[in-house]
């Protein structure tokens, strides 16, 4: 295990090295407003870090994404459960879901500008419209995979409807919900920047556009590096461990304890 980890680490470091080298070579041959070199970007990153508005911008974007995502989670889950519970409802609303999924986030952003102008609501709306259908679809699909045999089992123990919902539906839907929420968060995060470039006066997206307008390409690169680092941290530091813990029952874990009186391998 530790050896495999060392190999993996070496591979990752090599990849990073190759990318850095290519970047450095490319930057040496191109004007810096097209491709600034690693050193210049590092400097931009440091000055960004120390700028007055940095914390505010990051906080503003995070707040908008979180709010849009939170509303999308609540409404998407409730609607997904409703559609999962009623086939009539599901058949009636299904076309609407396809519609939602085909409309581009850029179109939502334009609508948001028309309806909400330059405000937080614009970004929140775009995140919501992108994330909500994803969560809804996954929860709905999860609700359809609930095994009626387990529901009957719970009934045989005389469990109430609420308890069946919590103890059978909940755990069945959770992996689907998690997959949907993860996807929705990733998309929501990305479209929030698009929305901010046209519909905000603060936040990471706004700064990106400002940097682009002023041809501060090194700033754009610095923000990009920062965002990638942030997402990797969130993914590896929170989401992956959470997922592994939540769905540990799916993974083959430690070898079974010694006592196996019935050595009959069966499905």
């Amino acid at each position: 295990m530790p050896r495999r980890f060392t190999t993996l680490l070496a591979q990752r470091l090599l990849l990073a090295g190759v990318i850095l080298l290519a970047w450095w070579i490319g930057a040496a041959r191109l004007p810096s407003f097209v491709l600034p070199g690693p050193g210049k970007v590092a400097l931009a990153l440091v000055s960004l870090w120390h700028s007055d508005t940095f914390a505010q911008d990051v906080a503003a974007t995070c707040q908008r994404v979180m709010l849009g995502f939170a509303i999308a989670t609540v409404i998407g889950t409730l609607l997904g459960l409703a559609l999962g519970a009623s086939r009539v409802l599901a058949r009636f609303f299904e076309p609407l879901l396809t519609l939602f999924n085909t409309v581009s986030s850029a179109i939502w952003a334009i609508f948001a500008i028309i309806w909400f102008g330059i405000s937080d609501a614009t970004t929140i709306f775009v995140v919501f419209m992108t994330a909500m259908p994803l969560i809804l679809t996954n929860v709905w699909q999860g609700a359809q995979t609930v095994d009626m045999q387990y529901v009957d089992l719970a009934r045989s123990f005389r469990m109430s409807r609420t308890r069946i919902l919590l103890k059978i539906y909940g755990p069945t839907i959770l992996p689907h919900f998690f997959a949907g929420a993860r996807l929705a968060f990733g998309f929501g995060w990305r479209v929030s920047l698009v929305a901010e470039t046209i519909g905000a006066s603060s936040g990471i997206g706004y700064r990106l556009r400002q940097a682009a307008d002023l041809v501060q390409t090194d700033q754009v690169f610095a923000w990009t590096v920062l965002l990638v680092a942030l997402m990797l941290l969130l993914e590896g530091g929170a989401l992956k461990p959470l997922e592994r813990w939540l769905f540990r029952w799916k993974f083959p874990s430690r070898p079974a304890p010694a006592l196996t009186p019935f050595p009959v391998p069966q499905g």
Binding site: Y150, K167, A256, P257, F262, Q266
Partner: protein
Amino acid sequence: MIAVPETLPDALLRAGPAPALETAGVAKRFGAVTVLESIDLTVRTGEVLALVGPSGCGKSTLLNILSGLLAPDAGRFTVGGVPAAQIADWRRIAYMFQEDRLLPWRSVRDNVAFGLEGTNLSRAARHARAREMLRLVGLESHAGAWPHELSGGMRSRVALARSLAAEPSVLLMDEPFSKLDPQTRSQMHDELLRIQAGSGMTVVFVTHDMEEAVVLADRVVRLAAWPGRVIDVIALDRLARPRVPTSPAVAEQIRVLRSRP
């Protein structure tokens, strides 16, 4: 609502004149199909009763009615002498399905404790009870394992432990071991009889395997199909235990049962 739940266990445990379960004229229709037609059945307290018959004879439907999960259209059904309509707490009657139905997202211990979660037992008490039940079926060391790590026989024993956790007076089983291989099934039979002998629990099970019926049951109720009705009841009390299918007396009994129309 009614004060009956408190008196029910006593009524069930009392080896008095009231049978554990009794039906009189019980009938059930699904649409135009009469699944059960006037079933008169008495299950004595502490006995092991087998329900056998061809498919379509309504044995599973009868079991569902006995469990209180399905209401009959007509007839009388009493549990320990108490009319079914007056019983508020049915947990004293456990139901074991054909499949083990272990919840894959729960550890073995939490699967066994599952049925106790509707009760007012504390979390610690539920876990203690689950461990006790796992000890009973010899799987104490697997309490922390996940269902997918177990063999078919072990899963079946976990399902049995789960059914027993609420300390039922009556255990109903719908072909519970039919998906196991013969060797494991026979081990489960021994396990069940050992536990039954220790607790004095009443057991009613459905099977289409005459060997299983003869090995386990004190009495065998034979049902006919279309519509489901009782043909006869065969008493096996005089057949000595433990019963090995290969012993002449047991084999003869199995042969007799199989040859009957």
